[in-house]
Symmetry: C4
Subunit: 279 residues, 4 copies
């Protein structure tokens, strides 16, 4: 097992080549939100935009378009219940987040199925309600060629059948290898772990001020932006995870609770600091 430390940030965050345009920095589709859960989609999107994603589209219900426009005008919106539009968006984007604030309804099952039918080599990041639905419906994760799973311990229990005390690194590794050997798994908790191709990485940062709604959605957005503009690798995902808790730790020095919106606002400056520190 390898510990993830600060050095990963300068390793992964590239100084951008001078002659480049937004298409070079990822086309991200975020399938998120529902009538009752609007904030999750907002927080994930805000994080993706602030972490440098070139083009971000949110597939959600039209009732959430106004809030998205106000908070993150940089993102585009489509109605995920228009399956033609959703299908086109799946084909056009190269990183796809599914889950934040979808809720565990039939509609979420339908969205996952549309994704399965239309996805090819895009990287899928599956989070939150989508993970619960996959557990409940026994959906085969191997239908996705490139998939990142980001359960917290409770969601991982539902997915793996492993009770929280049994979620040792050994058991987790075994389990993910049988469930979805090609996937990259992040188990979110105090000192989160990443499993990928028989390697285990572990975070050594983070704090209890992060125990608040929206932290996970924010992480998902950062991962999407990193995969979209750098590459899909264990290192890149680890850097995204590290950046998230690195900023949270800075905020926690002064704030009792780490608010997701504050965390997101500090991403551009923190990334630049590490991009510039490169030799």
């Amino acid at each position: 097992m390898q510990k993830i430390d600060e050095s990963i940030l300068s390793e992964v965050i590239q100084k951008r080549p001078i002659n480049s345009y937004k298409g070079n920095y990822g086309r991200i589709l975020i399938i998120a939100g529902s009538k009752q859960f609007g904030g999750a989609a907002l927080m994930s999107t805000r994080a993706a935009v602030n972490a440098g994603a070139g083009l971000v589209t949110v597939a959600t219900v039209p009732e959430k378009f106004t809030a998205l426009n106000v908070d993150i005008p940089e993102a585009m919106t489509i109605d995920y219940n228009n399956s033609k539009d959703l299908k086109e968006a799946v084909l056009k984007n190269n990183v796809i987040v599914i889950g934040p604030g979808l809720g565990t309804t039939e509609n979420t099952t339908d969205l996952i199925n549309i994704l399965i039918k239309n996805v090819d080599k895009q990287v899928i990041i599956m989070d939150a309600s989508a993970l619960t639905v996959v557990s409940e419906q026994n959906i085969d994760l191997n239908l996705f060629e490139n998939i990142i799973l980001t359960p917290h311990q409770g969601e991982w229990q539902r997915l793996s059948g492993l009770k929280i005390p049994d979620q040792t690194q050994e058991n987790n590794l075994k389990k993910i290898n049988s469930l979805a050997p090609n996937s990259l798994l992040i188990v979110k908790k105090h000192l989160s772990e990443i499993y990928y191709q028989n390697k285990v990485y572990q975070l050594i940062s983070g704090n209890p001020g992060m125990a608040t709604g929206g932290m996970g959605d924010t992480l998902t957005g950062i991962i999407a932006a990193f995969v979209g503009q750098f590459d899909y690798s264990l290192k890149t995902v680890s850097a995204a995870l590290y950046l998230h808790s690195y900023i949270a730790d800075k905020i926690y020095k002064k704030d009792y609770v780490v608010l997701p919106t504050k965390l997101a606002s500090k991403i551009p400056q923190t990334m630049q600091k590490f991009a510039c520190s490169k030799k």
Copy 2:
């Protein structure tokens, strides 16, 4: 009668244990808002999130979802006129605020009755319009096992029959003991008082810049977050009350009027200052 002073903050605000998650910091349900009064729900929710509540759900009318999503994406929303959803939310949360911006309509009476039917040992915080409706409809407050009442002087007059000049500590104590002996009562005014189990605590801070719409809603949110993450006790509620006016006094040094949104934004930093000052 005991004066509440600054020492209560370091006494109550706990440093969080490293290994914890959002479920440890309270599940708060805020039943608030109506077509005409949207801001009260927003201000109460923002305060609860900023004061560290783990999970916050707002039960309101769907017309307010967009404003809530924009301003406090960390909170979830449900429609309080969907009684199945409301009932489930009552069962699932352990601290329930009812009142800010509901208005004194029949609908508010219905919401209180749904709460009465479904509540068990949860802590109820009853504020604003809900208090007026309880007065008008003679609703028995003893139907709630754990209830915090937060009337200002006018609302307390309606509830107790005591005219403002007659609202002495002695009279208030007698009255609350006959009305709802198990409740915790806060009479909001210059130098607010707390009555609980025959004890009286009094605030010795606060300022006239706080005489503006939304101050009470903000207080309600802070109390909910404190009860949710610490405990339900006279000390904890007093600390919430003190924090509110402590921050207001800091702002009032520079600002003629203390705006609720500004007050809320300073909660995380103030809480951390006192959490860290503990031995």
Copy 3:
């Protein structure tokens, strides 16, 4: 003619008595906004709240409730096309703004007529579209006992028949004395003038960075808050006018254009500075 200078601010802005509540600081009703013009209502309301108004209610179209809730949660909202609600609000409030963003439609005429029927001694502040409608419909301004008119030069031309070059202090005074002798008139321009009971006051501050949409709406909100919490007098209105351009001049030192939202955000601090400078 008297020049208005900085001394008026400490003269008018009172330190608040310690034992006071929001009802002491004015009940302001702002009748403003329409489907197409939402921003004017927002800017006027924000200014009123930031300038210390105790309770602010906005009567507008329901389509604007969400934007009002998001930007100024401290304000309440009612639908001005519900005439029962509007009538009640007119009776209950003691300062009433009418005009910002109403548009010059029949609906605005109806709103003015409801106001005329129900108003008593409240102070009316008439601005923008309401002034144009009054000109076009020849509505008798003497139907209002206490009215403040805030036309810019073009609106004053429509109201008075005086072309801009003919708007000398002498002519303006004569005209307002024949039109509405009890009213207080502000002619907004470079070095704005106030006419009241045969006195003329003139501003000697202000700057061309203020030539931007929303400046007038912001002024209207400040005047309402000042009249609501201090009194209705030439001095108080002059102080409101002075505060507006005083803050604008500070901003203009650094900003090429003075944005209304920035101006409003600086009101609480500026008021406190002058309240505290009193002997």
Copy 4:
């Protein structure tokens, strides 16, 4: 070919005459946005207001009014599908932006045709989807007397038929002279170029942090404000282009990605700095 450098800012940005009003600083109409693309309209509008435009009206779909009111209350709104209102707005404004976030639908073709029918000597700024529709429908750009085209390289390829490697200054000049000899063309890319009346100007600033959604919309808003308050000339448009990348370069020193909303917020201060540096 001439390089655009910092000196252009003090040359173009005028200190405002003391006695002036908002009508002196341009009447800008921004035809932008659609159900799916709301952010582009917001970013363009915000930039125009912050760059000092006197009066800004946005013609869009009513679904976007709330977001516009919240984010830029200074701007007015109309429904572009009400052709009477749109026609009136075209006649009344002197600078008209068309394109950001319209989408490439039939509706956009209709809007362009209404513009063609009603426009006279107003300056048109054509951007984004409008450019694509013009290419697809072979609309004759010479129907506009004064038109600024702001394609990025891909849009310019569609418009000119020139593949990106063939977009040399010589070829571009030849092509624009045959397509629309009276137009002013900006080809947006690393080191953007401006073509006007056989002159070529080139930007020597800008950075890859600008490769994010909304950068172009922001530029469009600044150009509109500059033309509206200064004049329509190669110099003025060059200054707008320079200001945009000048601020972006300052932000990029600290931020990995240059967010459009942050860029817009810094316009008033940057403009004042250069207005004041004039002799």
